[in-house]
Symmetry: C2
Subunit: 194 residues, 2 copies
């Protein structure tokens, strides 16, 4: 029985929105920022602390890729946060009936037989149009945001998991949202899970 | 309306069998070796000629990857066959209501708005078990066959198309057949297409 769905996605693909709608349709809980907040509570630190630590890590790793010799390799704060996130996600999933967006949940739940891992992607034009309309920005800004966000996701995913981001073998389904639109994706996933 | 389905797959994933069952369920035609035979007829050459020419090309390209300086780069026979295959697949798709397995159909039909491109993959254990049971071979032989066949597909795909084999952006859906089994995949695709 697949009653835990993890959502990974390219920025702007609509995977987050699909995750929410799938959770609604199946009567599952939907976790994202709320999840971060709950982890933060467990860690007895503020949510803003976690964001800052993670942000620092990501910047440091992007820097390291370009100039490896200049980095000092000390990521202890971030490593602690990631390890706590992982433990928390594993605990959370034990209850089942949930959709978890982001947070590398596919990796932490890779051995959970009830987990179903989805990755969403889309044509660039589709993503740009969605971002422009949702964030009221120019196409150029949307393109830059796609590049930056996917780079951040890839960097943190690969740092924490040692796996390649968007590698098909880490997912049960990879779905192009621009082919048939978001609603059709929701319908499809609900059919598969039920 | 998506009434042309192309099937690409890892060897042993069951994508071919899924394609046949989807075609049955939707009342679509299923093309694979029959397609080769029809192209061969168009070319007024025997089917065995085409297989031999393509095989030669693939061997030559695998060789070239390892020792680029030793190859002479003359692939005119094979290029002619590939070009004819491409034209034929485009013509074939004009009639719609079909499933086309292999032959780089996703590439030739990349601009056809009615085409829906599927890629099937699976866990190695799943593929090995299927191959052992279907071909009555050892696990070691199955593993070797997977490696060899995927290498052949990748080489010819990348030679002809200039695109990366198994790149998600070339497909509408990438489906892990070992997650829920072949029958569930058939049901899922039929739901999406209908």
């Amino acid at each position: 029985m697949k009653n835990i769905i993890t959502i990974s996605r390219e920025y702007g693909s609509g995977g987050y929105e699909i995750g929410q709608k799938v959770a609604d349709a199946l009567g599952f809980k939907f976790y994202d920022k709320e999840l971060i907040a709950q982890i933060a509570e467990k860690l007895l630190v503020s949510e803003s602390f976690m964001r800052t630590t993670e942000d620092k890590l990501i910047r440091r790793n992007i820097f390291r890729e370009t100039f490896p010799i200049l980095s000092n390799g000390e990521n202890q704060d971030a490593d602690f946060v990631f390890a706590q996130q992982g433990k928390f996600i594993v605990e959370l999933a034990e209850k089942g009936n949930c959709v978890i967006a982001g947070r590398r949940a596919d990796y932490y739940l890779r051995d959970n037989p009830n987990a179903f891992h989805l990755f969403f992607y889309a044509d660039t034009d589709f993503k740009v149009q969605r971002i422009c309309s949702m964030e009221n920005c120019t196409e150029e800004e949307a393109l830059k945001k796609i590049k930056d966000m996917d780079k951040r996701r890839k960097t943190s995913y690969e740092y924490v998991t040692g796996r390649k981001w968007a590698d098909r073998h880490n997912y049960d389904r990879m779905i192009c949202t621009s082919s048939l639109g978001l609603d059709k994706c929701v319908e499809e996933i609900v059919t598969v899970i039920r």
